[in-house]
Symmetry: D4
Subunit: 227 residues, 8 copies
């Protein structure tokens, strides 16, 4: 694909069999597949479809595909690489920063995508603004990155604070935590849209999009460095 | 009044004559009046009503009231004290912290009310979170206060940060800045409601309410100290 | 912790094992833990983690922690105190007032937190405004408190009425009752934001925050009294 | 008209000439007209149209109509009665209760309509719930009414309180006061919809509708009494 | 109770045991109880509590209460009358009109309450506006009523049409049908608030409130007729 | 243009000079222009640009364009036809039905567009559902049309009623009347989206879109008839 | 029925027995029934009701109805035709275009209805705008249709693009895909309402309405062609 | 400043004197200032403050500042450069794409900022998706850019289409056009959040933020190329 973003399949709202079939096709045609929001059943169906080549209805579709299947439970992602697939290795780093434990899964989805695009990914966790020392301690490390994804739920103050600390482009990733008015990530998204610092945002829980955009910036940086 | 909060008249949506009449009555019955959201016309009408005792329709209502009229243009407040009125002097401090210039007027309304209730008021301005050094520099000063009002518009991250730095109760005061989705103070209010730090909030631009609540806390602190 | 607020773990959205691990850590590092929105499974996991020191995966992590585990089913809170932990005893009272039965659980969460911070807590239940005599009968009792939390769902008129009756600071605690437009606590929250009486508010069902803020006021009052 | 509700013309969004023409037609065909949300220009145009019979474009349309024109500035209503029109005199009373000064104009619109339908109207003003004594003092008077309209803005707690005090049907009339979230009457309307007491509601500022419904109840009561 | 409205218990959100206990208490103290939104379990628990006097935990609380228990599955209501309870018989009729099958349950709740208050209730079903002949055919029948409740979901046009056909007061009862934007009764409620005909409204699915208000009008009519 | 819809210029938010320039260009390139939401200044500027060929800054741009300029004040539309432009004459009729006076302007915009596309347009005014006889009286006339646009504000019940009376496709045109919750056309739009009858809708006040879609249906009908 | 739209039963929110009874009645009275949002249980109940004539409670209601039952799992529709029912065969085509796999079920519902009305239906799938070549490739095919339904979720850009490519009337069918702000079809619906191309819309997931309106246009076109 | 973003002053909501003072300070301390949403009065006040060094109240503040003042009326921006200020010249290009005339001003604001940061800016106007040929014609040109800002109002489909055509990171810039539901840029913003293509977004009309983020990407690309 033109942008180097892996073919992505959103498992949510699809049956395991549908997910598996789409995954197998993606691997066969592009050498790779990335499944998001996948549960254990989806992962099992994918393994069967890759390794046994058996459809849900029992039809055997031929020889197993030579591919590795990596399922990360925490983030709900499955990454499949054909045996001969080689992930690009970009000379660029993406930092993925998360405010709290509840933000880690969504941040993880972003990290997986950026890594598949070829960036080096640096995870910085548990740096919520209610305790400023934590984020200040990580400042220098985050400044190393060429693009920064900042995941935060509830009031979502972290992306604004981080964008005040670094020179690289920052992408806010609002997370669907919080209850009551402004809950489920709405306050965090609006906080990103209203930020006093320069940053852009993706929708609530859209880890895939945030990670992919960071990956595109990493690609641009890598390409410029090669010239 | 039971709580020591001055009789308050919201000028918005009233004619200058109505505002002036309500103000005169408040001064005569309680020795004091506080007018919020007053413009120049309201202030002029109040002066006339206090000093000339002339109604809008020309009727002269008797001798001038012995009172001082203080109009603060920036905050749109008018404070009137009868000659013999003595403002309480509480042994307690309220800090009023503001993120930026646009938040200063609303913060000022809060400060006026807290002062009228009798608190010592400490104003801390221009400490937005996009530049963390500014707020960190004022940390010790804010820690002196018995109650803290934090005014902030746009993404409203400041109250969360301040409540992470001090031990006193913090009251968020969202300000109607910002445009687009979450604008006009909505993101800032939702940010306060979703805050990871412990704090309570008032409605957008409700400087009067934030200042009055801080004043009530100051009264409680002062009373405990006198025992 | 600086503000005397117990380390709080929101069980909702975490597995019992995660809740238990976070609780054990909090007890070991701070001598205490407060878990909110915990169900029976969470409580059982916490007991195991404290008393058996066995992780979810079977690993034994050493000697039992010397601690008491109190689970209150009604409010969904679990309080854990290390054997040598001594709860502060503040010379200050927090009244927790609730309109109806449906508000009692959320009010209870507020009460638990205020008590952990060290305040004497006075519960006043079943005083909805549809029958004014009930609240008027309790007026003198509520006036004894240094801070008042008022929990109310549906139209949420009670905080406004109570704030008209007492001199102490009032914190509205909107509860997620009611169906249709303005339901799930939204009308109650907006009623607090629009109140004609001076009060501040927390988000819908945020008993923890309301109780903690009341506790912070109690701490300030207690400290002033000691001087 | 079948229900005894006067032909009503909403002046807002119409030119004075349009308002005047519709008014003249209503008077000629039904003996009466009620114009709501009329300003001074609308009232002047109506007088011209009734008394001079001159159209906006100068055409003279004949002899003046024998009719009285009553313009109430406060409520923005104009009532026109043909010389031979006799307003019904129902044996029933409508109480129109208002929380504060800002609610009086909208309450007045309701009162005018109920009176035109033929009810005896009893106005009870300035009984906001922040000071319960005021409403309790008026309790017996309000209990005399056959139907009760309760106008209230901001948090709109008054209709709930009144419906807890009387046996007659109560109609909430939310008023567009208040700023910020829940402002412009939204919290007051939602408060009516969520009320713990039995009552029905009309839209924000819909004084005409509240007064007309109260008038319909008065008609039903009057008719039953005549049998 | 002052208004003749039966003590009502909302079963939703309560356990069957809680519902049963509240019901028994209401019957013992007021001679009657009305439970709304009750399912089969609630009804069974009520029967046990009335007939066996056995608590959930096995305690026997004495002799059975002499009372009848009527459970209507369709509307989810349970009506309990003590043996000596006599329902008032008002000389007044309430029509309960419903647009479609989906509106019938909510309409039924309104009917039960109005009947308990003592009105004669006339049900008119299946008269949606997409086929005008149906409602026109029932016009004369509806005109017999002293108060009219009109239940309608989706676009909620029926209350407006009915209020244009009758002289009695009309109460709109929006029903939570419809999907997408304006679904779950929101469009129907807003349609009632915006109606071109004079009517008042209750919240979505608030059959109890609509029926009770109609019952209060019936009481007023009945009382006037007795004089 | 492919669909036969005239080049349309939305005057709102443009200066008269900009409107005039765009109009002149459209006439020169397509032989026709349709300006919507135009005020007197826009119309004057258009006339100057067509007849004097003088730009805002005084530059004379050559010979006058041979074209007629029709300004309809009520609907705010300006139609310009080059001298040699011939409007199509389709063998198909569009009925444009409006509930009340306030809906007439928006309905008029729809009518102008449908007419420009070539349909015969039949206007049916003042047939609001609060008085069913009016719409029933016009039933046969509306049934003559090949497509029906139904404009209605406030509760927007009319499109649902009309679609229950005719066989042709109905297009709802919600109008921005009404105040309070659901006002400014929102309830009317949601009523169309939730309609129990089959119909499609356009946005609030989008007379141009409704008329153009009706015109496209007329074109399809006309074309089929020619085969 | 006047408009040729089959009697439709929405299975959602009804029990299989209710669905089956309504279906049997429709077939007996109109020769046909269309059930939407039906699951396997609904389909089974329908078969039983048609073939066995047995009610849910065991009552046998007579001889089987001579009818065919077609259940389409993907779209959740059941079509029942009496043995002697003959579907109209209109000389008109409806194109049903869908952006992605997730939109196919809703698009399918539209297709079934249009087909039952008698149109020839042409399905064009998987032509989302993120890859413009796909839709451009199908342009000529879509241009053959007399009316076009375009189903799209998430940002819903496809209806705008298609309406820019064809001359026939376009009906947008927003689909409830997407998460976060604007999710569940809301952005897609608003996109249709704001479209720069001329089109009308139905509510989110309202495949039945979109298909029926397209069918009505097909009927008009067919009728014109017959003259 | 760390990120190379010019000190920016939002003129909206400030008096010309305030704007001018802030501008002068920025130029003196950073060598440059960028004022957005400035009108003619703001520009005049800035010129006076730079060239005459006279404060609003008449005080002369010394020698004129050696600086150039560029006011762009269309975009409402004022750029001030001190005589010795040299704008960076990055080896990177930002494309700024706009759907229609109404989007040009907001797009222009983005372009000014990106240029000030040092990027080469390529403007591509009038490429709305209702006519796909226009955007397809510009495809190769847009592909030259290192970052792409896409401004679009109403249904906001253009960013999704552009992100499907290019490999560089795309930033959506929703514009506040459109009326009715989803108007004022809301549908366009939600369309960006729901996009099927990978892109990030800024708030409605936030040209400054979009341009600055694109400039940050350009800086990263330029820096990588220099290594
Ligand atoms: N978690 C996710 N959030 C948002 N977009 C996603 C996600 N996962 C995949 N996508 C996008 O959705 C497209 C696939 O959607 P689908 O065809 O429904 O599987 C992919 O091409 C991605 O652009
Ligand atoms: N700026 C303000 N914001 C919120 N409430 C206010 C404000 N100023 C006055 N009030 C409150 O509004 C009441 C006066 O309302 P009114 O009778 O309309 O003047 C006072 O008693 C205060 O409690
Ligand atoms: N019921 C609650 N409502 C709101 N905030 C809570 C609640 N319980 C705990 N918290 C806060 O959330 C933080 C813990 O979040 P977490 O790390 O997700 O467990 C605590 O430090 C508290 O400040
Ligand atoms: N203030 C008002 N609020 C709501 N409805 C009104 C009001 N005044 C008049 N009406 C209603 O609006 C109808 C007249 O609307 P119009 O034809 O626009 O003047 C009347 O028949 C009344 O039912
Ligand atoms: Mg799945
Ligand atoms: Mg004023
Ligand atoms: Mg759990
Ligand atoms: Mg007027
Ligand atoms: Mg239950
Ligand atoms: Mg203009
Ligand atoms: Mg079912
Ligand atoms: Mg200015």
């Amino acid at each position: 694909r033109r942008r180097g973003i892996p073919e992505a399949i959103l498992a949510e709202g699809k049956t395991p069999a549908e997910v598996a079939a789409l995954t197998a096709t993606a691997v066969e045609t592009t050498g790779r597949a990335l499944v998001t929001r996948a549960d254990a059943d989806d992962a099992a169906a994918i393994r069967t479809a890759i390794e046994d080549r058996e459809l849900d209805d029992g039809t055997d579709t031929g020889d197993p595909i030579d591919a590795t299947v990596d399922h990360d439970e925490r983030t709900g992602t499955v990454v499949v690489h054909a045996g001969d697939f080689e992930r690009p290795a970009l000379d660029a780093t993406v930092a993925v920063v998360a405010a709290g434990t509840a933000d880690a899964a969504v941040a993880g989805e972003a990290a997986v995508v950026a890594r598949e695009i070829g960036a080096t990914v640096d995870r910085v966790d548990d740096v919520g603004v209610a305790n400023l020392d934590r984020i200040l301690d990580q400042r220098d490390r985050i400044r190393e990155a060429d693009a920064v994804v900042v995941a935060a739920g509830r009031e979502g103050a972290l992306p604004t604070v981080v964008a005040g600390l670094v020179a690289a482009p920052v992408i806010a990733l609002p997370v669907s935590t919080g209850y009551g008015v402004g809950g489920e990530g709405v306050a965090a998204l609006e906080g990103a849209l209203q930020s006093c610092s320069v940053l852009t945002t993706v929708n609530v829980d859209a880890g895939f999009v945030a990670g992919a955009q960071a990956g595109l910036i990493a690609r641009a940086v890598d390409a410029a460095g090669r010239d």
